[in-house]
Symmetry: C2
Subunit: 309 residues, 2 copies
């Protein structure tokens, strides 16, 4: 009879298929957390940063975009003239071509109309309401059910090994914070995102944070390392993003530039069956992964289960 | 013989004299951490924010100001023309009147010359060097020895009760971060401060954070609640500042405006013997404390020991 080891370690990533990506993650975590290993990283430096859309949850469509659309629909129901005014008409009709032409300014106008000129508390209540009732248009489940099970296991695995897990996303910081703890176990103070200007004002005898109609910082592309420096002040040891717009290349590059061991993960959306399949026109993220030796997750091959439901 | 209780609780604030301030701190912490107490605050919400200059360490003169002066002296030694150019000449000669006249723009020019146009890593090395060698001009000890012992006890006491302790200062975020862990046990990611614009650029084949000569955010006065909202996303349960410029009134007001229990502490510098004695010309902070029921620390009466040496 072969004795069973008493301390047999349970699989920390049960939703990941065995393969190079899973093995390399486990090998890396073990290497940087083993004292006396040449690659040992002290607990204080175990920083892991994750993109959100397409990395921790599905981004077809972008969840915050659906929040914007929901608000515009409610606004249009109260004021029908909105359906005849751009850029609102285009947004309400899903006219993607209009936005390709009109560019960033049109998007900003939508964000201003839906995200600003209210108190922080008021905004967070609206976001809470959205998550309590919103349903994903094609997956047909609440938005709280479009998170990726393998990535939530990865977050927990890293935390079990005394990593701090952070979100670093192009999404709005105050939007994600409302659900980061309940969906990912990530507290609001470990969320980095795009932010607007704010003012501290007195309103009805109480001092509040007022959301001004002006962008303070876009936390995407080269904005991600800047956001990490602002909120954490250290290069991440572990960084994970996904391919779609090239938005995570700078964050992964920044992580890799630290002195000492580091790990970079890039998710490739190649599973039309269970999730969505899409690619960058210029393939920039996959090319960068290839050139720099980043691990690429094939959702189709590397993930046993996709969604956390 | 009276039996000694086995679990006699040691005094958590031994450098504080017994009195109203010390008692009210201990009473508050016990109240918000006692389950079933009507004022119980869950661990996730136990946020404490501390101003730095004049609250955690001495600010006569402001430590970061001495870093600026040291750099200007080194620059002037390499280029004597600096001693004849304003605002450098005034800074090098300690001409306070000049800066009263020239205002904020002159200060910004000094900050630009000493804090920017270098990489983040380079800046942090300079700050490390400053703390390794700098000596306080009148207290005659290294700057690492001008921290207040009672406040360090308070930070530890709050952390023992599962509070997160944060710095929220008008000082530079990247300046304080270099020593926040070693001086206060506060990790760099829990420091909020003023910050400059940054760029993510390639330099000598490596990607670095480059410090641009432009202010991004001043974390003082009404900027403090905004900074707390940006980095934490919650109103603090406990907030501590000091009187000198009115710079902490907004932070304490913001803390007091949370729904649920909160505590505000204001340090009054009234001890010329052991530290420094100074007041605000308009008395705004002490007046706000009086009007809002904030606890005021008299260094003279409330602190048994001042410095942590």
């Amino acid at each position: 009879m072969i004795p069973t080891p008493v301390h047999a370690t349970a699989d920390p990533l049960p939703s990941w298929n065995n393969g190079e990506v899973k093995q390399s993650i486990i090998e890396f975590v073990s290497r940087v957390t083993t004292e006396n290993s040449p690659d040992f990283v002290p607990v204080a430096d175990r920083i892991a940063t994750f993109d959100n859309d397409g990395t921790l949850w599905a981004e077809q469509p972008v969840v915050q975009g659906m929040f914007v659309l929901g608000k515009l629909q409610a606004m249009a129901a109260a004021d029908r003239t909105l359906t005849e005014r751009q850029p609102f008409q285009a947004a309400l009709e899903g006219d993607v071509e209009y936005f390709k032409q009109a560019g960033e300014a049109a998007i900003m106008e939508l964000l201003t109309a839906t995200h600003t000129n209210m108190t922080q508390e008021q905004f967070q209540q609206e976001v809470q309401q959205f998550f309590a009732t919103g349903i994903h248009p094609t997956l047909n489940v609440p938005y709280t059910k479009v998170t990726y099970k393998p990535m939530i296991e990865l977050l927990e695995y890293l935390r079990d090994n005394q990593f701090q897990t952070w979100i670093c996303s192009g999404g709005g910081i105050d939007f994600m914070r409302v659900v980061s703890q309940s969906l990912y176990g990530i507290p609001p103070e470990q969320v980095i995102g795009s932010s607007g200007k704010e003012e501290f004002i007195q309103q009805d005898g109480k001092y509040v944070i007022w959301r001004l109609p002006e962008i303070a910082r876009i936390n995407d592309h080269a904005g991600k390392p800047i956001g990490i420096d602002l909120h954490i002040g250290k290069r991440p040891v572990f960084a994970a993003g996904n391919e779609r717009t090239g938005g995570d290349i700078a964050m992964l590059t920044y992580s890799q530039g630290r002195s000492g061991a580091s790990f970079q993960l890039l998710i490739n959306h190649d599973d039309a069956q269970r999730e969505f399949a899409y690619q960058e026109p210029d393939n920039a993220s996959l090319n960068a992964a290839e050139a720099n030796g980043w691990q690429v997750v094939s959702i189709k091959n590397d993930w046993k289960t996709v969604f956390f439901q």
